[in-house]
């Protein structure tokens, strides 16, 4: 009997979390994925930063002043994280959503009523609002610390384009639910294009662009038409906005973020007093 208890004890000891942990960490599978193992020494902490695609976005060592929350407010990172969340939830939404007049609205209603635990739409929408606010605050922080000054002028401009892209992403996404809120918001927004000087049918100077008696800039050939693919917000506008929203703009934004992050390091890391 006591023999059995002893053997049970050793068996349980072998199964203790510590031992299992060590066993896993020494297995070939684990070692093949995480080369460095637990970063428990400074050497390993450096290697881990170099060895991972994700972590190597960061340098191995950073200036202490640069990681202070009170300096950056983490706003750039928050913006980036929200972008990742939006990409992920957006992808899930694409499984359900079809960008046609017939289906767009019903698909959105179904997302609420049929999909179990369906909060992807909510996360996507609130995340989008949050991202817009976060970019504004990030820009505000960069301005207040004077971090646009040399050598970071170019990266500030990459940022400005990212700001525009963020707003465009949100603008194109706003149309997709295809309800009253959506089409009228986009109608109000895109009506502005009609007033583009020279390129809009109701813009100053457009009347000057004529071939003989034929006006070149009309409501079916002006900037707004080009934006919407039609004279009003209809099926082709929905398709255009969908493609831009789910493929075109995220790709461009992703590219620019890569440049943005690369440049932060080339410019000497987060700014600080010299």
């Amino acid at each position: 009997m006591s023999n059995f208890v002893d053997r049970l004890k050793t068996a349980l000891q072998a199964l203790s979390p510590d031992n299992i942990g060590t066993y896993i960490q020494e297995s070939q599978i684990y070692r093949s994925i995480f080369r460095v193992g637990v970063p428990d020494s400074d050497r390993k902490r450096m290697l881990v930063m170099l060895g991972s695609v994700f972590l190597h976005l960061h340098p191995v060592k950073v200036r202490k002043s640069g990681i202070r929350m009170r300096y950056t407010w983490c706003m750039g990172g928050i913006t980036f994280f929200l972008f990742l969340v939006l990409t992920f939830t957006g992808l899930l939404l694409m499984f359900y959503y079809r960008p046609t007049l017939k289906y767009a609205y019903v698909d959105i209603v179904d997302l609420r009523e049929q999909v179990p635990l369906g909060i992807m739409r909510e996360i996507h929408r609130w995340g989008a609002h949050a991202m817009v606010i976060a970019v504004w605050l990030h820009m505000f922080r960069v301005f207040m610390t004077g971090s646009y000054k040399p050598p970071r002028e170019f990266n500030w401009n990459v940022g400005v384009i990212l700001l525009v892209l963020t707003l465009l992403l949100s603008f194109t996404g706003y149309l997709l639910p295809w309800d009253q809120l959506a089409i009228w918001a986009i109608t109000v927004g895109s009506n502005m294009a009609r007033a583009t000087p020279f390129a809009g049918s109701e813009g100053p100077g457009a009347a000057l662009l004529k071939l003989g008696d034929v006006s070149l800039v009309t409501s079916s050939s002006d900037a707004r038409f080009g934006l919407l693919g039609g004279r009003f917000v209809g099926e082709s506008a929905l398709l255009r906005f969908y493609v831009l929203h789910c493929v075109g703009l995220p790709l461009v934004a992703g590219f620019l973020m890569a440049i943005h992050f690369w440049r932060i390091r080339r410019d000497g890391g987060i700014s600080g007093p010299l």
């Binding site: 002043s65 646009y148 500030w156 400005v160 583009t196």
Partner: protein, 359 residues
């Protein structure tokens, strides 16, 4: 109670709201050491929470503030003032340190390097987890809105652009779409991009300070806080049917009428001033308007360069200086037009509707 409500409705009229906010900003930048302290933060944010807490009792207020899409803007109403206060408090502290000859807050730690793992990676992880929790909680609590299916023949009233463009829509009150919707947004982007090339002040790079870059910070804050954030908030909460103004406790009455008595400059001059009819040739009719616009853009920069901005001109050189002046004057055109509208009911300085050319 009624009285307070009326008073607040009255104070939130765009004329008064924008004026008060601008004066407040100006005063706070004149005496930053007094404004950006912990005590004022308690008073201001306490007051804001109190205002919000008491106001939600009001039905009309609740209706507009709790609209799901407006909730993040209520959040912004707190976040933007908070970060304004925070960054300027850091700036004031740094300026005081510099005045005493001590190192800046940031300076103590710039020389020191730490390992990214764990000093950077762990906080990032915590931040991501917290954000995820926040987003999930928010999404469970608040359903994304979905209205009636799209109907191109029934336009809602008010028809509003997405919230982040409401500042531009608010500009439509003062300028035509070709300016408010195309030229100004374009110039905002160009202007933002131009900032690092215009601002040649080498000080204040990489730390919070106000004293070393008063002009740059003042201009940016005016543009960002008043001409962008405040207009977004105004457009969201205080503009109802027909883009009429409605106080925060006011019912959005579709039939509220606002007398439109706006008059063009040409009419002021030819009809009221010279007691003549309006000339038929638009170029003659709008001659004065054109002169004013030309003077605004061509003569003012010269005067400024000679009087107040002499140092800028000498430091920046002519090209930078004139680009800066063009952008700043365009930015100032919005408050200028607002004032003209509020004081004289001025509609257009140059008004040639035949060619959609109205300024």
């Amino acid at each position: 109670m009624e009285l307070i409500r009326h008073a607040i409705n009255f104070l939130s009229d765009p004329k008064i709201l924008i004026t008060i906010a601008s004066l407040l900003l100006l005063a706070s930048l004149k005496y930053p050491g007094k404004f950006y302290t912990n005590r004022t933060a308690f008073i201001v944010f306490g007051g804001m929470f109190l205002f919000l807490g008491l106001s939600v009792i009001d039905r009309n207020f609740r209706l507009i503030v709790t609209k799901p899409d407006n909730v993040p803007i209520v959040g912004m109403l707190f976040l933007v003032p908070f970060f304004t206060w925070f960054s300027l408090r850091e700036a004031v502290r740094n300026d005081e340190r510099a005045a005493r000859g001590e190192p800046l807050i940031e300076q103590g730690e710039t020389a020191e390097k730490v390992l990214s793992w764990p000093s950077l990676v762990y906080p990032e992880l915590i931040c991501m987890v917290l954000l995820t929790v926040l987003l999930i909680g928010w999404s469970i609590a608040l359903k994304a809105p979905i209205e009636e299916p799209a109907n191109p023949t029934a336009s809602p009233n008010p028809a509003k652009a997405p919230w982040y463009f409401l500042g531009l829509q608010e500009m439509l009150v003062y300028f035509d779409p070709w300016l408010a919707g195309v030229v100004f947004p374009g110039l905002i982007i160009v202007g933002l991009g131009a900032i690092p090339y215009i601002d040649t002040n080498p000080q204040g790079n990489g730390y919070y300070t106000f004293r070393e870059r008063k002009f740059a910070i003042g201009t940016f804050l005016f543009g960002f806080l008043i001409l962008w954030i405040l207009l977004v908030i105004l457009g969201t909460f205080l503009r109802g049917p027909n883009w009429n103004f409605f106080g925060p406790y006011e019912y959005w009455d579709l039939h509220k009428l606002e007398a439109l008595v706006n008059v063009n400059l040409s009419e002021y001059i030819w009809v009221k001033g010279l007691h003549m009819g309006l000339p038929t040739n638009p170029l003659i009719r709008e001659g004065f308007g054109f002169l004013i616009i030309l003077a605004y853009y061509l003569i003012l920069p010269g005067i400024f360069a000679r009087k107040w901005f002499r140092e800028f001109y000498n430091n920046m050189g002519p090209i930078r200086y004139h680009v800066m002046m063009f952008l700043m004057l365009t930015m100032a055109a919005l408050p200028a037009k607002m004032l003209l509208r509020w004081l004289f009911n001025l509609k257009y300085i140059v008004g040639i509707p035949e060619y959609f050319f109205n300024i």
